[in-house]
């Protein structure tokens, strides 16, 4: 297992956000966490990348305990997190945003090569490289957030609601990007409210309900599960 979360719980003050969550992510797979608003999906992802502290349980990444590391150390191990709401740096240019993603990397040649790769993948970012990030559309900002995460040369990509607030055409583009990344061997943990999309992209899925794991299984099986169909797919 590349990433393993065991019996994890996160509290915000006295309020328990998630309880007893165990999630396994195999190298090269796409794992999705679906669930309604406030189910604890974002909290789970934040715990993985070190933005939220566990009150119980543990997280190991490539066999190494990471639950006590701050977020700025976790990324150095090869975990990139595309946060909810994109959170690009509005008053940095597009290129400065991307280069900031490579902050910890010292190999200038490799960073330049990765920058070119990302510009090839997202031509619109190249066109707008010297523009302020805040002047871009929502879809472009999402691509920038993904590009910034990839600039850290990660082994695993955590994505929080990449489809949020985007037009269907753009959501389709994002889906294609995730498929391409997966085909190239990237491990992805995808948190989504758009369960239809998430189950289509993922190999394995977890369903969170009010802070607890309600269900898990191969994405195809969950797609046919009656409860999932009624509660999340609206069928």
């Amino acid at each position: 297992m590349l990433l393993e979360m065991k019996g994890a719980a996160v509290d915000y003050g006295r309020v328990s956000a998630v309880r007893d969550i165990s999630i396994n992510v195999e190298e090269g797979s796409v794992v999705t966490i679906i669930g309604g608003n406030g189910a604890g999906k974002t909290t789970t992802l934040r715990a993985m990348s070190g933005l939220a502290r566990l009150s119980r349980g543990e997280i190991t990444f490539d066999g190494k305990r990471i639950d006590n590391l701050p977020a700025d150390k976790v990324v150095g191990l090869g975990m990139a997190h595309v946060p909810e709401g994109r959170r690009i740096f509005p008053d940095l240019t597009v290129e400065e945003n991307l280069r900031t993603g490579a902050f910890l990397r010292r190999d200038k040649v490799a960073v330049a090569a990765d920058l070119d790769k990302i510009y090839a993948k997202f031509p619109r970012l190249k066109e707008r490289r010297s523009q302020w990030a805040k002047t871009m559309s929502g879809g472009e900002q999402q691509m920038l957030a993904i590009g910034r995460a990839l600039m850290s040369d990660p082994r695993i990509l955590l994505m929080d609601e990449p489809s949020m607030g985007l037009a269907p055409v753009i959501v389709e583009e994002i889906a294609v990007i995730i498929e391409e990344l997966s085909a190239q061997g990237m491990t992805v943990v995808l948190v989504e409210q758009n369960a239809e999309l998430a189950l289509e992209l993922a190999d394995y899925a977890y369903v969170l309900e009010t802070g607890n794991l309600a269900l898990e299984g191969p994405a195809k099986e969950l797609h046919d599960n009656e409860h999932v169909r009624a509660a999340y797919l609206g069928i």
């Binding site: 700025d72 990324v75 997190h81 946060p83 900031t100 993603g101 902050f103």
Partner: protein, 289 residues
């Protein structure tokens, strides 16, 4: 009359130079750490007293004293970060109160070491550039103007061309998203405190031969810096520079043609007017105010 206008313009440029050095540091620290550093005027004062101790006292060369002053006051900034602002990271009001305490400590230390009376600083240079009979620019004032221009250019290059510069700006805009890129807030806070404090320190070093050096000299400059930071738009470095120039020109001209009290009133009134028309300041954006 033209001579008087030109001379006043030169005086204003000189004030704008050291006010902007102080204000930019104040804004940088607020941007990265979210803390209003009330002790910033005392960092300016500390820079001036480095000159009193090493240049007036030990007769070291002025350039060496300037370098020592820059580094010494920068390190005072690091000390403040480590002992006050880092433990109070989640408590900006606490940081503000702690900085007021630090202000008093620095004033008391200066009074105990050097006395409360004005300290004597011998002139570094007596040279004066005479543009005409009544338009004169003392060379020491020219040093202040050139140094401000030089240091602000260096700061701009650092912020826009280096990875630590991007990190600092990223951290100021969204500390959590910056952490996800591997940028540690402790690291950027240290850099911001060192640079911000060092800029105030060098302003004190440069102006020490020109103004009255005493333990309470930080007071007037911090008020000017606050006005400038607010008018420029809190969090905007370019706003702070533009507002410094505007404020210094208004203040100097009103002082020359009326008097200093009216100039203070005018400065504060202009701040009120700007805040009424544009509450985020000239260059500020809503999410940072």
């Amino acid at each position: 009359m033209l001579d008087l206008l030109l001379q006043t313009g030169l005086n204003a440029l000189y004030s704008a130079s050291y006010i902007s050095l102080v204000a930019v540091g104040l804004v940088l620290i607020f941007g990265v750490m979210g803390i209003v550093n009330f002790a910033h005027g005392e960092l300016f004062m500390a820079g001036a007293y480095v000159v009193v101790a090493l240049y007036s006292g030990f007769k070291l060369p002025y350039l060496l004293v300037a370098a020592i002053g820059l580094i010494f006051v920068g390190c005072l900034g690091l000390l403040m970060e480590r002992t006050m602002f880092r433990p109070l990271r989640t408590n900006p009001l606490g940081g503000l109160v702690a900085s007021i305490g630090f202000l008093m400590i620095l004033q008391a230390l200066a009074s105990m070491t050097f006395g409360v009376r004005m300290a004597f600083v011998p002139p570094v240079t007596q040279e004066v550039i005479e543009f005409s009979e009544r338009v004169r620019l003392p060379v020491q004032r020219l040093y202040v103007i050139l140094a401000a221009f030089g240091f602000l250019t260096l700061l701009w290059l650092f912020l826009t061309k280096t990875r630590f510069g991007w990190a600092l700006r990223a951290s100021a805009q969204d500390p959590e998203a910056a952490a996800l890129q591997g940028i540690s807030i402790n690291q950027t806070a240290k850099i911001a405190m060192f640079i911000g404090a060092a800029l105030a320190g060098i302003a004190g070093v440069l102006t020490a031969p020109l103004i009255s050096v005493n333990p309470h000299m930080g007071h007037s400059v911090i008020i000017a810096a606050f006005i400038v930071a607010i008018v420029g738009g809190v969090g905007s470095l370019e706003g702070a520079v533009v507002a410094s120039v505007a404020y210094a020109f208004v203040h100097t001209f009103v002082t020359t043609f009326f008097d200093g009290v009216i100039a203070d009133i005018t400065g504060l009134s202009l701040m009120l007017i700007v805040l009424i028309i544009k509450p985020t300041g000239l260059f500020g954006t809503a999410d940072r105010a």
